[in-house]
Amino acid sequence: QQQVRQSPQSLTVWEGETAILNCSYEDSTFNYFPWYQQFPGEGPALLISIRSVSDKKEDGRFTIFFNKREKKLSLHITDSQPGDSATYFCAARTSSGQKLVFGQGTILKVYL
């Protein structure tokens, strides 16, 4: 049972466009949602995160929008650059706080 789901599986945008990556979850007790970015041949690295008490978190070109009622969140990447091409994982922290549950990832490709 996938507790954290991501869509789309893959996404292609042109340079300068806004990429929107979606994430949904089932467990209403999840309270912390990080997004990890992974480049080929490397491990994931924390990109940006949000806590369930907030509905928006911004860091440069990256913004998380969070809808607690619908159990959904999205990552918006504005002015997308070829260097943003990577796999993005949405994750959620369990209520016990002991582990992160990851989604299956979205592969983003940004073309010139």
Binding site: G43, P44, F89, G97, F102
Partner: protein, 114 residues
């Protein structure tokens, strides 16, 4: 320099052989993790270690065991490897014990079991 180091980067084994994957971190983090990554499945948690000799099963522990005798070192062992254990394995560490905030990942070990 904060780093999680995994060895080896690539490994090919035959079915039935024993496999040892090693991970080290230089940040004195209490908590360490082993994940495996498969296409379409994302990252699946195999084991968590909260400190030396304090290990807990994750979501998919079957076929794996772990060892942590020093805080900076965490090993994943596959006794009699199976072909369905072909995957990319990631080790991670976290500075928090009970609150999994930022995870720092290694570069992974790509294991092929023939």
């Amino acid at each position: 320099d904060m780093k999680v180091t995994q060895m080896p980067r690539y490994l090919i084994k035959r079915m039935g052989e024993n496999v040892l994957l090693e991970c080290g971190q230089d940040m004195s983090h209490e908590t360490m993790y082993w994940y495996r990554q498969d296409p379409g499945l994302g990252l699946q948690l195999i084991y968590i270690s909260y400190d030396v000799d304090s290990n807990s099963e994750g979501d998919i522990p079957k076929g794996y065991r772990v060892s942590r005798k020093k805080r900076e070192h965490f090993s994943l062992i596959l006794d009699s490897a199976k072909t369905n254990q072909t995957s990319v394995y990631f080790c991670a560490s976290s500075p928090s014990g009970w609150s999994a905030e930022t995870l720092y990942f290694g570069s992974g070990t790509r294991l092929t079991v023939l």
